[in-house]
């Protein structure tokens, strides 16, 4: 079965989650190094800002893809979903920080003006603001404490996905092929979830031995 051939041996799984954090942060570190050593082209700040934004989108897509990958392909990566979600948050936060500190040079008035006047910035800020409660409640304690409410709260990720897609699509003069692909993936993942009620997919996931254990471990 595909799921087994792709699965990582059990005793390495905790380490593999930490490895995902490390590997996930490599692009940010690498581009920061390139920028700081003047190897990021003519407009290094913008390039760094865009790169952090694109990686935010990539991790968001991976986060949203965990459930459909299990449902449709039998790949169980639930164990990595928290790390992927948090990487999305870290990249969104770095993207915003670069915009605020390096791009706008901490001109708060200009930033506020951007946020209230420009829909594309508004969507981005909205997505980042909604990511904050999800990141704060991503620990096991919150999952236990919030119970059913936790699941409801974390459905915010679909609204975040929609805001992120709008932010990304509206940020350029015309959509590039890359933007069509990423925005299309986000739309597909949101549609998949709205088509497939969450309760049903959870039941189905628990029906499988491995999936069931992963859900249990992240919820206990």
């Amino acid at each position: 079965m595909t799921a087994f051939s792709l699965a990582i041996p059990k005793r390495w799984q905790p380490a593999s989650v930490w490895l995902l954090y490390v590997v996930g942060l490599v692009p940010a570190a690498w581009y920061f190094y390139l920028g700081a050593t003047d190897q990021l082209g003519a407009d290094p700040v913008k390039t760094f800002e865009l790169c952090l934004g694109i990686w935010t989108i990539r991790f968001l897509i991976l986060t949203l893809a965990v459930t459909p990958a299990r449902d449709l392909l039998g790949w169980n990566y639930l164990r990595y979903r928290r790390a992927l979600g948090l990487l999305t948050f870290y990249y969104a936060l770095m993207h915003f920080t670069v915009y605020m500190v390096l791009d706008q040079a901490l001109d708060i008035a200009a930033v506020i003006d951007d946020v209230v006047k420009r829909p594309f910035i508004m969507f981005g800020m909205g997505a980042l603001a909604m990511l904050v409660p999800l990141a704060i409640t991503s620990n096991n304690f919150s999952i236990r404490r919030l119970g059913k409410n936790w699941i409801w709260l974390h459905r915010l990720v679909y609204i975040i996905g929609a805001c992120a897609a709008l932010h990304f699509a509206l940020s350029t003069k015309i959509l590039s092929l890359e933007q069509y692909i990423y925005v299309g993936l986000i739309i597909a993942l949101i549609l998949y979830r709205s088509y497939k009620p969450i309760g049903r997919s959870r039941k189905k996931g628990q029906g499988r031995a491995r999936g069931g254990r992963a859900v249990a471990s992240s919820a206990s």
Binding site: G41, A42, D43, K46, Q104, K117, S171, K173
Partner: protein, 270 residues
């Protein structure tokens, strides 16, 4: 190739953008959407031999060899500010001759009110014009009102930094109208037509809510999706302490060109 140039009074006293940045950070969608694409993908483009067809409402239409024009008109060096609609800017030493010189040569008729420009279409040499995904409708087209086209600041550039234009900057001949956003500076021109109708310009056709015919640099009229009040000066600072400049009305050329638009509402004619 190196150009022999004469100094021009049209020189802004600001720090030049390094040639490396001018030639590697380009919007030239015929070669791709990424700023680095033109420099990376323009190697196959053959800028010579090259002719420009000038037709429409003129007494002496013709097809002109660019190398002959470069011998006929003195090549001036002009240091202009360049402001992109995306809110970045450069200071570039262009080499070229006034557009008016070429227009005089073909003798525009009294009925000609506008000048339309057209970029070459060569999918085999320009990867952005080939394949399934194409960003704009080709050819790229632009236009100016006759008085704008005849303004001494309107330049047909054939070089920068004393050398003939690199392919990625619009070789062998491009328009430079420094008081307008950069997209008005149509590149690799093959045709100029004088007409009595306001010509279409590619960006206005693509998104009329966001891009107009005039496209004069104007800090008071925001792009619908971003502010035009300030600009990032490319190449001026590195990763840290990137400084923003205030954007000037008509990109700092208001004294020369503001009178062209007397009585016009520049919020409507953006």
């Amino acid at each position: 190739a190196a150009l022999t140039t004469v100094r021009s009074k049209y020189t802004v006293d600001e720090k030049l953008t390094p040639i490396k940045d001018v030639t590697t950070y380009n919007n030239f969608y015929e070669f791709g959407l990424d700023k680095g694409d033109p420099a990376a993908l323009a190697g196959k483009f053959k800028p010579l031999p090259w002719t420009i067809k000038v037709d429409g409402m003129v007494n002496k239409p013709g097809t002109f060899d660019i190398e002959a024009l470069m011998k006929e008109f003195p090549i001036e060096e002009r240091v202009y500010r360049m402001r992109c609609v995306e809110a970045w800017s450069m200071v570039i030493p262009w080499n070229g001759f006034p557009l008016a010189s070429l227009l005089d040569k073909v003798e525009p008729q009294g009925s000609a009110k506008y000048v339309a420009f057209e970029t070459v279409v060569r999918p085999e040499e320009m990867p952005g014009q080939a394949g399934l995904f194409q960003s704009l409708n080709w050819p790229y087209v632009e236009g100016l009102r006759m008085d704008e086209a005849r303004h001494p600041l309107a330049l047909l550039a054939v070089g920068l930094y004393g050398e003939t234009l690199p392919n990625q900057n619009g070789a062998p001949v491009r328009l430079v109208v420094p008081w307008k956003y950069g997209f008005k500076g149509i590149k690799s021109i093959v045709r100029i037509t004088l007409t009595d109708q306001q010509p279409k310009n590619t960006w206005q056709v693509t998104n009329p809510q966001e891009y107009g015919f005039y496209a004069n640099v104007n800090p008071a009229v925001d792009h619908p999706r971003w502010s035009q009040a300030t600009e990032r000066r490319i190449g001026e600072s590195g990763f840290f302490g990137a400084s923003r400049h205030p954007t000037l009305p008509f990109n700092g050329y208001a004294d020369e060109v503001a009178s062209l638009y007397d009585g016009m509402d520049l919020r409507v004619n953006f």
